[in-house]
Each structure stands twice: as C-alpha cells, then as structure tokens.
Symmetry: C2
Amino acid sequence: MCLRSCYSAGVQAVIEAIAEPRRREILQLVRDEEMTAGRIAAHFDVTRQAISQHLRVLHGARLVSERRDGTRRLYRVRPEGLIELRAFLDDFWSNRLEKLKREAEADEKSRAANRR
Amino acid sequence: MCLRSCYSAGVQAVIEAIAEPRRREILQLVRDEEMTAGRIAAHFDVTRQAISQHLRVLHGARLVSERRDGTRRLYRVRPEGLIELRAFLDDFWSNRLEKLKREAEADEKSRAANRR
DNA sequence: CGATAATGTAAGCAGAGACTTGCGCAAGTG
DNA sequence: CACTTGCGCAAGTCTCTGCTTACATTATCG
C-alpha cells in the first residue's frame, strides 16, 4: 500500500536532500545548465568542501548528475529523484481525493468510534 | 526569481515536517479520518509525548488540523500545506522536466558515441 | 470538590547533520 | 619532474532534533 512509499529509501533520500535550503538553492543553480563544483560553491558563503558534501547528498538522492572533465566535476539537475517525489505526493494526493467523496460519512463514523 | 520560494517559510516548514518518516506515517493515519492523539500514538512504539511533539510540528506546518472535544484532541490531514509544497515543486518544474529527461537521454547517447 | 483521564509542556540526553580545518589525489602545465 | 588547479575525503566541533522522564493543564465524573 502507501506504507511502502512512506518507507521508500529513494523518497526518503530525496526529501532529506531538499529539506536543506542550500541544497534547494544548488538545485536551482544547476537546473538550467551544467556547472562545476567550484562555480556552484562560489555562490555561497560557506567553504567549498561544505558544498561538495551537499553535492554528494544530492547525487546520492539522484537529484543531480555528475560528469568529470579533467579535474573538474560538472553537475546538473537530474529528473529521476524529483519524479519519484512527485509520484509519492501524487499518490498521497489522489488517494485523499478519492476518499473525499465519502468524507461526511467517514466523519460521522470516526467521531462515533472516537467517542468509544 | 525562484529564490523566494526556496526560502519560503511555509514550504520550509512543510518539507521539514514530512522529512521525518514517522510524521509521514501519522499523515497517512489521519488522511482519511479524524483521529485522537491517543489513538495515533497507539500505532507507534514511542511514547505518547513524542507523538504529541510530532503533531505539533505537523500542525505548525499546516499539514493537520486540530479540533478539541472535551479533553481529547482530534487531528486530521489538512490540504493547505501539501498544496503549498506541490506549488513549489510545480514552480521548480516549470515544464522543464520533460525537456530535461529528453536531453539527458540524448546526452547519454552522444557521450556513448564519442567514447568510440 | 477531589479523582481520574486525555493531552500538552519542559528539561535533559543522545544521535544526526552541517560546517570547518587539514590532507590526499588526479589531471593538466611549465 | 615539480607545481598548480580543482576536487573529494576525513576528523573534529557545534547546533539541531527526536526521544524520554517528569510535571502541568483541562475537562469530565462521582
């Protein structure tokens, strides 16, 4: 059921990755074009290594791709991770809408049940 | 720009709230019907107080509604927070995703061709 | 009113994670 | 070959957060 997607390792990794504001900013940076780790880090006031660690997390969540060109590493948004997250949310959402028809009925039942 | 939505307090609260697996489980529990705090807590192996704190976080992110009936408090999923998250993701998408996917596939093919 | 039931709040602790400093490593360049 | 560039990795620090224990709060019932 839905519990599977609740515990999906992929979705968990994606949500944890985008929970950090700086990582969302990084995603915005590499959304339209490939960018080297150095150029990405230059946009922030933390150290280059800190951004490197963020990039590792994003890569682990399959939210960015990594391509090597000499000593440089180029990153770019990859849609797989976000597609997975969207599927999770859509699943949550559609199921809720599906049940929405019986909302009044369910309301009454739950209230009676809770009254015990 | 998109930086506003990156730093939106509401979206930040929602993402942080659903980043915790137990809170996602709680959302599933109260998705279809109202449920008391006690009944929700009974589904987990942590203390009732821990669940109460999770409910506070979910309520702060506007992901659940709280209704009092005597000494009991009844919780239920509220769509506002999820709507906000969806809007954020849709904004991030901005119909780039499909294009990105095609480009990624094309990149893979050209890179494979260049390797030989 | 006192007792009890359902729940939130507060303080403290332990683990997670974000950041820094220091170092290592691969690929060009003189 | 040394030297530089562009990175990632590792260990230590500090803050945040989720959990527990203990206490407070609110409402109902006798």
